[in-house]
């Protein structure tokens, strides 16, 4: 195996959570929901996955991955559900509430890995390592590339299909593009559609967290995510909120960040350079969209 192949595999590993969380953001923004909370939903997914795998891994055996990942998706959806509820019931701006929930999730993980879920020797702030039954299989032997990358591709294909071919996909796009028209002309329950979009978006982010735990880290710890949920916003926007485009931009950002880490190692170039490039790319995409006389997204739905 060549070092180039290993580096490419690393880039794809890095792009996996970015693609899935990017899909979460793309789905939300398409549906007129400003979910900035993929980071927190991803962390809660990772929490649920590791909890289920650590506590019931012995009983579940080879079903561990499926059950734990389902738990991860549900946890992500529930975490997003808090913001969805606050928006629907109390008209709380989801931009604010999801960011607050991100911070709460980070402190919650910190509490768990220094408290109830800490590894038995109680030295390191992390959980015990997951058993082999809870780990995703390798995709390319000898590299770190794992099965999660395929799941990311499948999810992207599924979301593209939902948008293009299904009634619910049409409702989501209509609610996001013009909530009033969707309500008046399409008889679409915009409020209900937004809630659904929010929950599905959270579930996707929860899956991203589950895959990161089961494919890469094999344990829960505080800095599990180097801001995947925030980078995912750039990933989704650069892709024009198109699910298949998210795969391309997710891989691009995976290469960018892996490259930045390698640069830091080899030449002491700070890896924070990557977030500058990401911000610049968002601004560039905004400029291009504005010059073409349209916005990057539809107007947010009235809550």
């Amino acid at each position: 195996m060549t070092p180039e192949l290993a580096l490419l595999a690393d880039a794809l590993v890095r792009s996996t959570p970015l693609i899935i969380a990017g899909l979460a953001v793309a789905l939300a923004f398409r549906g007129g929901v400003f979910n900035i909370g993929a980071e927190g939903q991803l962390l809660m997914g990772a929490v649920a996955y590791s909890t289920v795998a650590l506590i019931w891994g012995n009983i579940l055996g080879r079903f561990t991955i499926v059950v734990a990942m389902f738990a991860g998706a549900v946890a992500g959806a529930l975490w997003a559900g808090i913001a969805a509820f606050l928006r629907r019931r109390f008209h709380v701006l989801e931009i604010i509430s999801t960011i607050m929930l991100n911070f709460i999730a980070i402190h919650f993980v910190s509490f768990l890995v220094r408290g109830p879920l800490q590894e038995p020797t109680r030295i390191y702030p992390q959980t015990e390592s997951l058993q082999p039954v809870a780990r995703l299989p390798q995709l390319l032997p000898g590299t770190r590339l794992h099965f999660g990358f395929l799941i990311a591709l499948l999810l992207a294909g599924a979301l593209a299909w939902v948008f293009a071919r299904t009634a619910i996909g049409f409702r989501i796009r209509a609610a996001g593009a013009s909530p009033i028209a969707a309500l008046v002309a399409g008889k679409i329950d915009v409020s209900q559609t937004s809630t659904l979009v929010f929950l599905l978006s959270g579930a996707l982010a929860g899956i991203a967290g589950s895959i990161e735990v089961s494919g890469v880290t094999f344990a829960l710890y505080e800095n599990l995510s180097p801001g995947y949920g925030y980078t995912a916003i750039a990933v989704a926007l650069i892709a024009g909120l198109n699910p298949l485009g998210v795969v391309a931009s997710g891989i691009f950002f995976g290469v960018l960040e892996t490259g930045a880490i390698a640069l830091q190692r080899e030449f002491a170039v700070p890896s924070s350079l990557a977030s500058i490039v990401e911000a610049m790319l968002i601004l560039a995409a905004l400029t291009v969209a504005a010059l073409r006389g349209r916005q990057l997204l539809g107007k947010p739905a009235a809550p």
Partner: protein, 304 residues
């Protein structure tokens, strides 16, 4: 100091940077601009003050903070007013940009650790007579001088916003920019200036963190204060005095940990760290239907 005084002092100390940032954001939002990039202005201000204070003067530090905040706000203004890009997405990018640029510059200029860099810090100035008032005197009037600047700024912004012709123009722009233009107000200019003012106060908030509190810079030390400040603006119902009160409530929630420590009550420390964010959510839910945002907030000039 008694436990109560320690708690009150912590309340005012935590509230100070939040109130600076939220007061600036209030002005921007009353002009119809929601600047989610406030976080970027705060971290830039923190870094700017750290660099400028190296010259040896705390006031040079605050000048650097203000300039850095204005610079970040200018980038935001360019994209939202000139390019007419969406305010929320631009703001998200600006926050990312501010955090990335400051982290990169810091590591380039001072190395990854930045160890043992000392800058002058602003000590406590006791206001004669007032600081000897029982219970509240010391927490309110034994603070760094920048806090007294804030005390003066809050009523000044209130007076300017509600009692002057320019303040009326500001509020008109936020409610209905087209009507404001028809009445002869240069709405674009009003928005630009209020964004820059908001950036300046955001920068100063970052300067407070470095010069009056931490005494050093750390990557990401703004720690979401920009977003909390935006929530405080909502809780304070877009009114300078309400915003100041909301910042104090917020400071009190954060300062509860000092009170608990003083009383010897044990709780996981993460619970205290998470408390301000939980409180924001509850607060936002609690004022549902009672507050109304400026009518054109976030919609002009990017929308149709």
């Amino acid at each position: 100091m008694s436990a109560l005084e320690t708690f009150l002092e912590g309340t005012v100390r935590t509230a100070t940077p939040l109130a600076f940032a939220a007061l600036g954001e209030t002005v921007a939002e009353r002009a119809g601009v929601i600047n989610i990039g406030l976080e970027g202005a705060i971290i830039a201000g923190a870094f700017g003050s750290f660099v400028a204070a190296g010259s040896g003067s705390v006031w040079a530090g605050f000048l650097g903070a203000a300039l850095a905040g204005i610079l970040v706000a200018a980038v935001f203004a360019f994209f939202t007013i000139r390019i007419r890009a969406d305010q929320i997405i631009t703001g998200t990018a600006i926050s990312l940009l501010g955090l990335g640029v400051t982290a990169t510059l810091y590591r380039q200029l001072y190395g990854a650790t930045g160890a043992a860099l000392s800058i002058p810090t602003m000590g406590i100035t006791r206001v004669p007579v007032l600081s000897s008032i029982p219970i509240i005197g010391s927490p309110l009037f034994a603070q760094p001088s920048i806090t007294y600047v804030l005390y003066a700024l809050i009523p000044a912004v209130w007076w300017w916003m509600y009692k002057t012709h320019m303040g009326l123009g500001l509020r008109a722009t936020g409610e209905d920019p087209r009507a404001a233009i028809a009445a002869g107000i240069n709405a674009g200019k009003v928005q630009l200036l209020s964004i820059l003012f908001g950036g300046m106060l955001g920068g100063i908030a970052g300067g407070v963190l470095v010069i009056a509190q931490a005494g050093s810079f750390a990557e990401g030390m703004s720690a979401g204060r920009g977003f909390i400040a935006i929530a405080i603006v909502v809780l304070g119902r877009w009114h300078p005095l309400g915003v100041a009160a909301a910042a104090l409530v917020f400071g009190a929630a954060s300062a509860l940990q000092y009170f608990f420590q003083a009383m010897g009550w044990a709780l996981p420390y993460q619970a205290f760290l998470a408390l301000p964010y939980v409180l924001t959510l509850l607060g936002l839910a609690g004022i549902a239907g009672k507050a109304s945002a400026p009518a054109s907030l976030g919609k002009w000039p990017s929308g149709s």
